[in-house]
């Protein structure tokens, strides 16, 4: 797919972006589907604000993605849609049927444009000028020019058809050809249909489409065939179904009546010469040579490039198969299915542990074979568990890699100098979260670049370096995943925000705390940017960010210092994450501590315990530092049932730069645990960030060190 972009306007598309095209196309497709559904369901008289906002967001998301990937035509059209939709949701205009029609057409045109990009941009560009002007005049409150309508319906078809033709294009040495197959005259024209089945059954054969709308003329039916096989092979294959003397193959003539007589005729004839775009199109020779050269030299280059290595071979492989083949290499499976698998494997592990425990009592000499079998079972179960877990976990770098290119383009457009830094790329995050966090992060990063970072001259005037820095950092913290978007730009202005809020009619007294003022930017329609650009400034970004993150059960925190930059921290709960942990015992109960927050542990008796203000304020001296001691037995009201507390062990934990010591009875060990959240079926429990299932099937609570530390402060 990548190589076919050579002839597209964005021939310089970054290497690392192409791997995300598929994701974008899928996302955009979903957004357009939703847009269409919402538009179709909309009630013009009493249009719901929520629906209008949703429609707007669909268009906005498509636009954002398209701009990121450099699909200018898509971004342009969505921009016009957005302008109209923005007025609708602000109630500056009332929705009319004409608007819905034009918006739906625009949706169709977008689909066609996306399909064109997906097919490699070889098909003729869709002319959306009429649509755009229709959208513009509607947005200006005038009725749509009538001419805008008839031009459109033909476009999606005309553009859509060459794409399947691209599908069978395979090895560059053996190029796909467009052929016309005449079958007949046959007594039963339906016989010809069986040929179509052949193409369905044999995946590599190519594509097969009826011409003349599948109708026979005098018993003769015509089909369009795009294949890499030779004529002889094809005829031999077809002769299983139709007598060879009734078959004739000929090259597909230019402008051959593919859409003959159809309303879209002029456009479709234009499309015809492009059919075998692997032969004739300007990009084709390049495609072939790149693909064939890809094997050795590129691989070598990739080896030198180190980290890029996995990407490059993948790309050269992707150059050969078409969009259809790219679909087959990944499988979209619903998260529930994976979750179910994970749960089943968890059960299996527990059962296996039980078997192992029971069998250990048996005489190994007698049940030698069974013991060996159980050992195998144990190993296989562990491998299985690891593989299943790895399905869901992907490193943050997958998300982070999307940004450098986007920022580069954005910075160039805004004439700013921006350096992009990532931290914690390898922090693993649940797949479901990664998918959902990408859009909000994109908004945040764009915002940072657009609103945060100043122009180079301005930066120099303020005594900062010319180049601004945007940092994306991910880490596991206190049982959550924290993703921070930080910039060293101008930060938020308290004054501006308050003024803007009042202008918007939001109640904003001077007494608001800083953090309350910062959170004003999450109000719908709130934007402090003076000009609405296609980058940002419509004020849609932040409320979507907030909504998406809240939907994930997370929180957004903003820290800002005017003149020095701001940081947006997205804190997400661990719905499913694997965590290195330390398990501790208190009386007969087991609790889990995130290993990342454990600093050290020691026996209490070795150290000097002191009290401040009576027994309530216990402190312990560790390395010349006095740390507060928290007795977990008290916090969790652990029943002792009269048993005497054994000599305690203190575990020093750290969170947010604060240290403290937790008193426990014993350390039970370190292990990786799967974090489950309690909120799914219950609610948040104090000082507990989640739960996990121990080897014996019992549930153990995971301590929220962060909130324990905060508690000790108050």
């Amino acid at each position: 797919m990548a190589d076919t972009h050579l002839d597209s306007p964005k021939a310089d598309a970054g290497i690392d972006l192409t791997q995300f095209y598929q994701v974008f196309f899928e996302e955009a497709g979903e957004n357009l589907d939703r847009l269409e559904q919402l538009l179709l369901a909309i009630d013009l008289v009493t249009a719901d604000d929520e629906v209008l906002n949703s429609i707007f967001r669909c268009a906005h998301s498509v636009k954002g993605g398209a701009a990121t990937f450099g699909f200018g035509d898509v971004a342009q059209l969505t921009h016009q849609m957005e302008t109209l939709l923005d007025k609708l949701r602000r109630h500056e205009l009332e929705p009319t049927a004409a608007m819905v029609d034009v918006l739906l057409q625009a949706g169709d045109a977008l689909r066609a444009q996306l399909l064109r990009h997906q097919g490699g941009g070889a098909a003729p560009a869709c002319d959306t000028e009429d649509l755009q002007s229709a959208l513009r005049s509607l947005a200006d409150g005038q009725p749509a020019p009538a001419s805008a309508r008839p031009a459109q319906p033909a476009t999606p078809q005309a553009v859509a058809s060459p794409v399947p033709a691209a599908a069978p294009a395979r090895a560059p040495g053996n190029e796909a050809r467009g052929l016309e197959l005449r079958v007949g005259p046959l007594e039963q024209p339906e016989q010809a249909e069986s040929l179509a089945d052949l193409f369905k059954e044999i995946a590599d054969l190519g594509s097969f489409e009826p011409l003349d709308g599948g109708q026979d003329a005098d018993g003769v039916r015509r089909f369009k065939v795009v294949t890499t096989s030779s004529d002889a092979d094809l005829l031999e294959l077809f002769s299983f179904h139709v007598a060879p003397d009734k078959l004739s193959l000929m090259p597909l003539g230019p402008g051959y009546g593919f859409h003959e007589g159809a309303p879209g005729a002029p456009e479709s004839t234009e499309a015809e010469p492009e059919f075998g775009f692997f032969e004739g199109a300007p990009g084709a020779p390049g495609a072939a040579s790149v693909a064939s050269a890809a094997s050795a030299p590129v691989a070598a280059a990739a080896g030198e490039a180190g980290g890029v290595a996995p990407v490059t071979p993948q790309r050269s492989a992707a150059a050969k198969p078409s969009a259809a083949a790219a679909d087959a290499s990944t499988l979209r499976v619903s998260v529930e299915k994976v979750d179910q698998l994970i749960n089943l494997v968890g059960e299996l592990v527990i059962t296996q542990a039980m078997l192992a425990q029971t069998s250990s009592k048996l005489d190994a000499a007698v049940f030698q074979q069974m013991a060996a079998g159980l050992a195998d079972l144990q190993r296989n179960t562990r491998d299985l568990q690891e593989s299943v877990m790895s399905i869901r976990m992907i490193p943050m770098s997958v998300v982070f890699n999307r940004f450098p290119r986007m920022l580069r383009d954005l910075a160039a457009k805004l004439a700013k100098k921006v350096e992009f830094v990532t931290q914690g790329d390898s922090t693993e995050l649940d797949k479901g979260l990664v998918e959902k966090i990408t859009d909000p992060l994109t908004h945040l990063v764009r915002n940072s670049c657009d609103h945060g970072i100043e122009l180079p001259a301005e930066r120099l005037a303020r005594g900062k370096s010319e180049t601004g820095t945007i940092t994306l950092a991910a880490s596991h913290q206190g049982g959550s995943i924290v993703i921070e978007v930080r910039d060293d730009g101008k930060g938020l202005s308290r004054r501006k925000l308050l003024d803007k809020a009042r202008e918007k009619g939001i109640d904003a007294p001077e007494t608001l705390s800083d953090s309350e003022v910062w959170s004003l930017i999450f109000a719908p329609g709130f934007s402090t940017a003076e000009v609405v650009t296609d980058v940002s400034g419509r004020g849609v970004g932040m409320d979507v960010v907030k909504r998406n993150i809240t939907g994930l059960g997370g929180t957004v925190e903003i820290e800002s210092c005017e003149g020095f930059g701001m940081s947006v921290k997205v804190r997400l709960p661990l719905t499913l994450a694997i965590m290195d942990s330390m398990s501790v015992g208190i009386a007969r109960e087991t609790y889990i501590l995130p290993l990342s927050s454990v600093v050290q542990s020691f026996s209490q008796s070795e150290q000097q315990m002191m009290t401040i203000g009576g027994s309530q304020g216990q402190v312990v001296r560790v390395r010349d530092e006095y740390l507060p001691v928290i007795d977990l037995e008290q916090v969790f009201e652990v029943p002792r049932n009269g048993a005497l507390a054994p000599p305690s062990i203190l575990v020093v934990v750290e969170s947010g730069g604060m240290r403290m010591a937790l008193r426990v009875d014993e350390l039970l060990g370190q292990q990786q645990v799967v974090v489950k959240n309690l909120e799914a079926n219950y609610c948040k429990v104090d000082f507990v960030s989640g739960a996990t299932i121990l080897g014996d099937g019992r549930v153990a609570l995971i301590l929220d060190v962060d909130s324990l530390v905060r508690r000790s402060r108050h």
Binding site: N343, F636, C683, A691, L701
Partner: protein, 173 residues
């Protein structure tokens, strides 16, 4: 609770308000001496009682959480919730796993009796209680072979927030 049965037999209270009209199946279970019924369609499974993992700072009727094939499920002891005299845990103590408004939870009861099919005329409206008896979640009283079945709307009980289970997952949006 004695007046419960007598008032149910009172013919004056035969106005059937808020009672399902068609035939419905109920799972009946015992809490102490009382017999209750819940809509069978809300029941996911029935398990023996196993000690759950205790949690601190939660109401006393929340016994803790258990692992149900990888899902963390809270366990509510209805005997404590309904303020019955004793809550013993023995071999007959069972946990009914319910699936209510997208949430899975287990309720501890003294034993499950059977599944009873009740039609509308077997269900009498609940009598008026003084404020001392919390009857919001009772939909009616069923009569089966002379036994009285207290029919509870478990969905209402769970989603009312009375069980302090927090927001239901569906209402988070």
């Amino acid at each position: 609770m004695q007046d419960t049965s007598s008032s149910a037999l009172r013919p004056a209270s035969r106005t059937e308000v808020g009672v399902p009209t068609s035939r419905q199946e109920y799972l009946s279970f015992k809490l102490g001496a009382e017999e209750y019924g819940i809509d069978i369609l809300k029941v996911q499974e029935i398990r023996g009682y196993e000690p759950p993992t205790r949690m601190a700072n939660v109401p006393d009727y929340i016994k803790g959480v258990v692992n149900l094939r990888g899902t963390i499920v809270p366990i509510v002891d209805l005997r404590i919730k309904f303020r019955l005299d004793a809550a013993e845990y023995n071999d007959f103590t069972v946990v009914i796993i319910l699936n209510v408004s997208g949430r899975v939870l287990g309720v501890v009861v003294d034993g499950v009796s059977d599944v009873t099919s009740l039609c509308a005329d077997q269900i009498k409206p609940k009598p008026q209680f003084s404020a001392a008896v919390d009857a919001d979640h009772i939909v009616g009283l069923g009569t089966v072979d002379g036994r009285m079945l207290i029919l509870i709307d478990i969905e209402r009980l769970v989603s009312s927030g009375e069980l302090a289970l927090g927001q239901s997952p569906g209402s988070l949006q």
